[in-house]
């Protein structure tokens, strides 16, 4: 069995009367990109901040790199890198100085220029931090987290507030990190982010894990019914296939566990009558469908 870098059993955390985390079990293996996916207020940040050592838990067993993060101290912090949702840096230092400053806190830091290249800030090396764009500052956040050459990196909602281009760039950086053998734990409320980056996803809603798996199998997504939509040409009768629903725009939708046969039936019917469909669409349920079903379609507490 692969080494468990993070192991959480029965984690509970309350703020006053509010139970933010209500019994979470999860584990992350070395080299994985693990995404904790859930709506705002589901308990993602609370969970990741307990793993990072910022918060004490009320109950449960938590092990990060073999240590309890609440008592891991300096030894644990030397081996992890943290990218928080929003963090400040000294605006008057340059990119290189900033990374160098943080690298100095670690026993065996990564080469500063190598880190700068990894996050794509080579051209901004000698630029002061207050002259960076928002996206570049986020790269700097990643660079700072990488400075100590950690085994395990935490990203809390790494692309919230990004434009589509910046998101793509951030994703590429995270992909690069897996290429150099880092284990990554990220939280996100974007389905596409989890799907693109993660090797394994856990969905959290109202403080509980409601599903866990690879992006392809999450929540039984691989076993869910396939959706087929067609639009016959105007004037044609309804296709004689079971389980169809007529949609307002004149198209028909059906759900099936046997898409091979269903598509065959539909096209045979059309060919027999000499119709050509205006369109034909076959879709697997998206991660979004699964997600909305799992999280109750609720935005939760903001």
């Amino acid at each position: 069995m692969a080494e468990r870098v993070i192991d959480v059993q029965g984690l509970h955390k309350s703020y006053g009367d509010v139970e933010a985390v209500r019994g979470i079990d999860l584990h992350v293996e070395r080299g994985e990109v693990f995404a904790l996916l859930g709506p705002n207020g589901a308990g993602k940040t609370t969970t990741v901040e307990i793993l990072e050592g910022y918060r004490e838990r009320n109950a449960g067993d938590v092990s990060v790199l073999g240590r309890d993060p609440a008592r891991g101290g300096v030894e644990l912090k030397r081996r992890i890198g943290i990218v928080l949702q929003s963090t400040g840096v000294d605006p008057y230092l340059t990119v290189r100085e900033t990374i160098d400053l943080y690298a100095g806190y670690y026993p065996s830091p990564r080469n500063v220029d190598e880190v700068i290249d990894l996050v794509g800030l080579a051209e901004k090396r000698n630029t002061r931090v207050n002259k960076l764009s928002g996206g570049q500052q986020r790269r700097l956040d990643v660079a700072i987290a990488l400075a100590g050459d950690p085994e395990l990196l935490f990203f809390d909602e790494p692309t919230t507030g990004f434009d589509p281009n910046a998101r793509r760039n951030a994703w590429e950086i995270v992909k690069n990190l897996t290429g150099i053998g880092k284990t990554i734990f990220l939280t996100t409320h974007f389905m596409d982010e989890a799907q693109y980056l993660a090797s394994r996803v856990a969905v959290i809603a109202k403080g509980k894990i409601v599903a866990e798996g690879t992006p392809g199998t999450l929540g039984g997504r691989d076993r869910m019914q396939t959706r087929i939509r067609i639009r016959p040409p105007d004037g044609s009768p309804a296709p004689s296939v079971d389980g169809q629903t007529r949609l307002p725009d004149g198209s028909y939708e059906m759900r099936t566990e046997d898409p091979t046969k269903a598509v065959h039936d539909l096209t045979s019917w059309a060919l027999e009558h000499g119709y050509a469909f205006d369109f034909l669409e076959v879709t697997q349920p998206s991660l979004e469908d699964v997600y909305i079903e799992l999280t109750g379609g609720e935005e939760g507490r903001a």
Partner: protein
Amino acid sequence: MSGAALVLRQFRFTNKAFWRNPASAFFTFAFPLMFLVIFTSLLGSGQIKLNTFELDAATYYVGVMATFGVISACFTNIAIQTTFARDEGLLKRLRGTPLPAPAYMSARVLHAMAVGAILVVITFLFGLVAYSSPLPTGTPLLEFILTFLVGSLAFAALGLALTVVIPNADAAPPIVNAAILPLLFLSGIFIPLGDDAPAWIRTVAGIFPVKHFADAMRAGFLGNLTVNTPLGTIRVFPFDWMDVLIVALWGIVGLVLAARFFSWEPRR
């Protein structure tokens, strides 16, 4: 890296960043000098009567503005800058690294003390050149240096403690000024405070550390001034260890409060 090396390294980066904000650096140093010039210009070359002794107004203000500079650097600046660092998430980020909290705080305080020391030197040199104010030598100089060290540490600790009650960065300047400005007025920094001052003012000033710090700083600064009396030659401003002790006690209170309640994360 050893603790001292970490502090030194952190100090170097803090210092580098400090000088790259020219506006902030300029006003930190210009402020006490500006007050010095304003007060001495307003009061001309007049005399200030302190108890029974008459002192050049310029010399008086050189002394208190040095004190004011140390308080600005170590109390006001530390409280405001630390609140900003906390609100921007800089402190939280540092908390996630192996840098020990005391190393970061020590570097910050040492830097404030260095700025305070430069301010004292600038003020004294300015006083010497512009107003021919005397400089302390011998024992008074040592007393002055000791007072500076105790006072700057104590006010830095109080500045850190004050951040506990500052809810966010926007509130930092008004709260810090509300805490220190009345005391500066009540403690003879801007307006000389003699024995004829109202009793309640002297009582209030006696409780808080500003006046004690200012008195001890002045006793050191003007420690070479003497008068001849029937009882012999005595110092006009005798150095009172009690002043230093009270300042130190306030510093310990500040340190305990800061250690207990200091927040590394933005308070919202």
